[in-house]
Symmetry: C2
Subunit: 454 residues, 2 copies
């Protein structure tokens, strides 16, 4: 939501140094909406506007800025000014943000932070992108199991505003090993028995994620169990962080977008479309495009083997694009359906026989229908009505092959442990292009000599 209408007013306030109005602007709305309204201001303007409100609000609004706007502000302002802000941001968000900031500036900011925050940033940024460690936060409620409900509520009420979630309280021993979980729901339920010990309430059958685990796997666990957060443990089973529901939504969205890109033969971008450099973008598209292109080059040599029939029956040439694209389109429908169903868990590899049968029948239906349509046009362009039969026969076989290859290949890739989303697009397209031509020419060679004579 860009709000260009609001910008002149904000700039007017800044120009006239209207302190009251600027403070009011920062504090009246939800910080996310304030952040939206500020889109379009320069980093300097945004920073000056934020200086009119208190630290907490400033940090909250800043937290809702898009990534690149945050980086621009950090890079344009003196480090002494921004360090305090960085100290206040949520641990997981600030690590993501600092990854985009020039290394030298990050160094200067780190120097100005309290030792504990600095260590936290360095530790979190050590985890590889795409792992649980990289998206977890370290602001969570850790309590000793000897506490009572009343003591726990008391302790929480002091810490609450610094924690990312207070809805799950993690019970740990002296060495930070995770012992159990008490939900705020359980605390509230036990409110009338305030002397109950946490150890009596806590659940000990916990689902955890390990720091090295793939974020997609973690998201699947959280979504399956409708959790608010999942605890993350290191190799020694010490509790090192938690991943909250809002980060899971981001992961689900990110992974779905990456799958869509892979299906369209684009290697996943690690940043947004506009943030990705031109050469990176070209490279991530170029490598798959080149593979597809080389596969398509093979169609030229396939066609070359059939130069004689093509010269004899030149009207066949007219339908080459049609044959190629009907196979390709059916194949991409099938592979997309299978890839998405595999990744949402909607189908399993053990369903393969059912899937192959379905695709065979669907391919038969679609192929017959499209074949019938193609006959209408072929009838007009072929030398006689019986010769035109080459088209429906070819379309039926090609559509059927498209459905088969498009459904079987992703399952094979999944089975051997390759990413079906990434591998299927080029393979399905490459195979079906060549197969389409082979089918077309062989159907023609089978039917036409009998009808037209050689």
């Amino acid at each position: 939501m860009v709000n260009p209408l609001f910008l002149p007013e904000l700039r007017e306030m800044l120009a006239t140094d209207n302190e009251t109005e600027m403070r009011e602007f920062c504090e009246t709305l939800h910080p996310a909406r304030t952040a939206d309204f500020m889109e379009g201001l320069s980093p300097e303007e945004a920073w000056r506007l934020l200086s009119f409100t208190d630290e907490d609000t400033r940090e909250e609004i800043f937290g809702y800025f898009p990534h690149e706007a945050q980086v621009e502000i950090l890079e344009s302002q003196p480090v002494t000014e921004v360090a305090a802000l960085v100290a206040e941001l949520a641990p997981d968000d600030r690590v993501d943000m600092l990854a985009g900031v020039e290394e030298e500036i990050v160094g200067s900011i780190l120097e100005l932070l309290p030792a504990e925050e600095r260590r936290d940033i360095l530790r979190l940024s050590a985890y590889a992108e795409g792992t649980a460690g990289a998206i977890m936060t370290t602001d969570f409620a850790k309590l000793a199991e000897s506490l009572t409900v009343r003591e726990a509520l008391n302790e929480l009420s002091q810490e609450a505003d610094e924690l990312e979630t207070i809805y799950y309280l993690y019970v740990v021993d002296d060495q930070s090993h995770l012992r159990g979980l008490v939900s705020a729901r359980q605390l509230v339920e036990a409110f009338r028995k305030p002397n109950t010990m946490l150890s009596e309430l806590m659940e000990t059958e916990l689902l955890t994620a390990s720091v090295q685990e793939d974020q997609e796997e973690v998201a699947r666990k959280v979504a399956r169990l409708d959790l608010l957060a999942i605890p993350v443990v290191d190799e020694e089973l010490r509790l090192v962080g938690i991943i909250t529901h809002d980060d899971v939504i981001d992961v689900v969205r990110e992974e779905a977008t990456e799958d869509a890109h892979r299906i369209a033969a684009v290697a996943p971008l690690s940043q947004g479309y506009l943030q990705t450099g031109l050469f990176t973008l070209s490279w991530k598209r170029g490598m798959w495009l080149t593979i597809l292109f080389v596969a398509a080059l093979l169609t030229a040599s396939a066609l070359r083997r059939y130069e004689t029939p093509l010269e004899m029956w030149t009207w066949l040439v007219l339908f080459i694009p049609l044959v190629i694209s009907s196979g390709g389109n059916t194949g991409s429908q099938s592979s997309t359906l299978i890839i998405t169903a595999l990744s949402t868990g909607d189908i399993k590899l053990s369903d393969w026989l059912r899937i192959v049968k379905r695709e065979f029948l669907v391919g038969l239906l679609l192929g017959s229908f499209l074949g019938a349509i193609s006959y209408g046009t072929a009838f007009l362009l072929a030398p006689n009505p019986r010769a035109a039969l080459v088209l429906p026969a070819t379309v039926l076989l090609v559509v059927l092959s498209g459905a088969m290859i498009g459904s079987v290949l992703p399952m094979i890739f999944k089975r051997i442990g390759w990413d079906p989303a990434m591998m299927s697009a080029p393979c399905v397209a490459g195979i079906i292009d060549i197969l389409g031509i082979v089918i077309y020419m062989n159907v023609a060679l089978l039917i036409l000599p009998k009808i037209l004579g050689v």
Copy 2:
């Protein structure tokens, strides 16, 4: 996760009527894992196994069964047995589930439910699929603003186990109009001041969804503000339900899958791949496939206009599939990148000029590279090296057009209010197929007569 290894043991327990073991199986693990382990049992077996545990556990495990398994159980067991279970399920989940059950059986179940639950089911099932009303739940904490923190905690501690979330408490007036929100976090923070009134604590600047609002829009709001839940209000601004974070994850996943299907020219399926009937599946694919097919038929008439050059220079025919597919692949890369970036909010329509410039440069780079590769093969098949120049020139122009059309069309569709995911696939493919042929033939007609003579 199918666990076929576990099934024989479960069947053994059932055969030997081993009550202790069956109860233990139901109660030891997290209900979601128990449900996973039971996959593969017949509805009768599953229901009998569940009869060995208490009502609450039974309902929890049942809630984690896949949709179709739930429906099978409801349809196979006497309604008097299952009605109690239905009464206990979360309001939003049971409405989704009952939508799959035979109408007659639903009628009998409804008759056996308490009046309040029956009304709730009928009201929720009246909302159209895809709206906020259809995914909201009606189990949430509604409190009067005159309560103190202590009274609120007391009331909550009595109701907690029936509520879907206790983390947001909604403050309403006598007519159920939404007045404000108190988070459990605020209640806990105020724990040391138990006489504070809710009206002093509550936030009144609330983001709400209306019952008719599109679920995708609601999911975007919740994700943007990292909310745990969003209140849903009717036309008279009365609070009628809430949508919780776990349902938002489902919506995000569902919408992403639908987008991927639309990009691959499949009309979104309302059920899973295996649950969709064969004819529905064929229809949802067939309608778009037919549109693509008719567009491809037009390539035949486009080619027909160039029969003379094709008969004169037959080696040009060999590269028709290559030209078509390089345009199509580039176009689908661009349109997928733009569609996903638009739907995640990564780019906005106001960025159009930057996007067009980027795609132009990327198209130029990719086209030059692929053109250079194509020259290698064309060199071998064309009558002379200069004639082979037709290929790189064509590939450059076609790839460039693919990038332009693939990026501009989705933005135009978005601008005029059509779904870019749905419209782009057939339009981009149709246009680029024909344009590819026109470019190819015209480049040939421009270059070849000078080199080879007519």
